[in-house]
């Protein structure tokens, strides 16, 4: 059987790797559709043929359950994002807070705090450390975490809060270039990425199998490799 699964864009590469392992393992097929979480939500709400929904946060997957589209008890957290502070030139690995305090840069890229949990957590972190007001005027918002990363990768912003997954990927243009600092997990609310099965996918064997597989150690290993935490 085939499962059609909507996945938040930041998780594209990871879930494709998981999917390949899954197909090899089970013989089921999975088709992933990627997009911004809010857009995926709007599509599901308007009849999109997705059997499961892997969001970039908790809120919108949960909302599908409120709306009666998601299966009530199917919600679970499949990964936790990790925020890193990356810069090509600034010594963020050794002195992250000093670099942020000194603010010797023009632009600090973050994901849009309004729509992307990575951005929201990053801004919250800055606020909690009392750095926000000093940096407010230097913030540039990427529409998604991928977009924020592009700002840094193309050197339009000298520094930025991006996802761990983006700097540890060997294909990444910044792989082993510049420096990054992993923001301590304890300093921000975990970025729980939640998933649900839709009513449409409830009876789909492939979906059932995939939801089981993604909790398997094999899958968790892959997810961790790509820079996510799994609790």
């Amino acid at each position: 059987e085939t499962a059609k699964i909507a996945v938040a864009a930041n998780f594209t590469k990871t879930i494709e790797a998981v999917g390949q392992a899954f197909e090899k393992e089970t013989g089921h097929q999975v088709k992933f559709s990627f997009g911004p979480t809010g857009k995926l939500y709007a599509q599901i709400k308007n009849g999109a043929p997705f059997d499961a929904f892997f969001g970039a946060d908790e809120r919108r997957p949960k909302k599908t359950i409120e709306d009666g589209i998601g299966v009530a008890d199917s919600y679970f957290v499949y990964a936790q994002g990790q925020i890193v502070l990356y810069s090509a030139n600034l010594p963020v690995a050794e002195q992250p807070i000093e670099v942020l305090k000194a603010a010797q840069f023009n632009h600090l890229a973050v994901a849009n705090p309004k729509t992307a949990p990575y951005g929201e957590r990053a801004v919250a972190y800055l606020k909690s450390k009392g750095l926000y007001d000093g940096l407010k005027s230097k913030l540039v918002n990427g529409e998604s975490i991928a977009h924020a990363f592009q700002y840094v990768a193309t050197k339009n912003a000298e520094i930025g809060f991006v996802a761990m997954s983006q700097v540890v990927d060997p294909q990444s243009p910044v792989y082993q270039k510049g420096q990054y600092w992993v923001v301590p997990q304890a300093d921000y609310q975990p970025i729980n990425q939640g998933a649900i099965v839709t009513r449409r996918g409830e009876q789909n064997e492939a979906v059932k199998a995939f939801m089981k597989f993604i909790k398997s150690p094999q899958a968790i290993k892959i997810i961790k490799q790509f820079g996510y935490n799994v609790s």
Partner: protein
């Protein structure tokens, strides 16, 4: 799958894009021709109002336009019900049909404008002359208007085609980015950018540019060699 410079390129989105763009162009010519003819015959006051209305989709960001199309074409919505009444099976959104419908809306002004200009340039005396030779309206249209508006049709078709190929927001929203079904090249490129696969993105973009330039120039070239020079 195609390998270029050691990079894997999936061809399915390319074929799909060409198919959708071709169908959209066809539909636009079929719908746009009578609309443009009608507008070309109008007195200037109503004409500008209609011109403004036709140009209006331009003002909405494509994702927003797509959002509204999503709401309107919802499988339980009135439009789908209406079509079902006429024996239409299936769903408008998240299908090729949906892609074509969305693109048609989005590219309408680019098809209508050049056709209207071409029709306006045709001397009515030629149509009068044809009528005195017992040619009916449709006969006149196909034997006089169409051949003499060749360049208008050409411009309309190429603009509509190009605009559909480069279309992103509407297609992503209405189509759902389902691999093999509604994932078009534009979304594919975007996905590659999201997942840091810049090489694939560059290659795909270059292919699209080169291909489009080749198509445009062939078409214009053929037109120049075999086309009618009028006036």
């Amino acid at each position: 799958m195609l390998e270029i410079f050691g990079t894997q390129i999936s061809l399915a989105p390319i074929w799909l894009t060409l198919e959708v763009a071709a169908m959209t162009t066809l539909v636009l010519l079929l719908l746009g021709t009578p609309l443009a003819w009608w507008m070309a015959q109008m007195r200037s006051s109503n004409k500008v109002l209609l011109e403004a209305l036709v140009a209006l989709p331009l003002v909405l960001p494509p994702t927003v336009l797509g959002f509204y199309l999503l709401i309107v074409f919802n499988p339980t919505g009135p439009v789908t019900e209406f079509l079902r009444f006429f024996g239409f099976e299936g769903q408008l959104t998240f299908s090729k049909t949906g892609l074509v419908i969305g693109s048609v809306f989005y590219s309408l002004p680019f098809a209508v404008q050049p056709l209207m200009h071409a029709f306006e340039a045709i001397s009515h005396r030629l149509l009068d002359a044809a009528a005195t030779m017992r040619a009916s309206f449709l006969d006149r249209f196909f034997t006089i208007v169409v051949p003499l508006s060749q360049r208008g049709f050409l411009v309309a078709a190429t603009l509509a085609f190009a605009h559909t190929v480069g279309e992103f927001g509407v297609v992503l929203m209405v189509g759902g980015n389902i691999p093999g079904e509604t994932r078009m090249v534009s979304i594919d490129i975007f996905d590659h950018v999201e997942s840091l696969e810049y090489d694939q993105a560059h290659i795909l973009s270059a292919m699209m540019l080169i291909f489009s330039l080749a198509v445009l120039m062939t078409v214009y070239g053929l037109n120049r060699r075999f086309g009618v020079k009028v006036g």
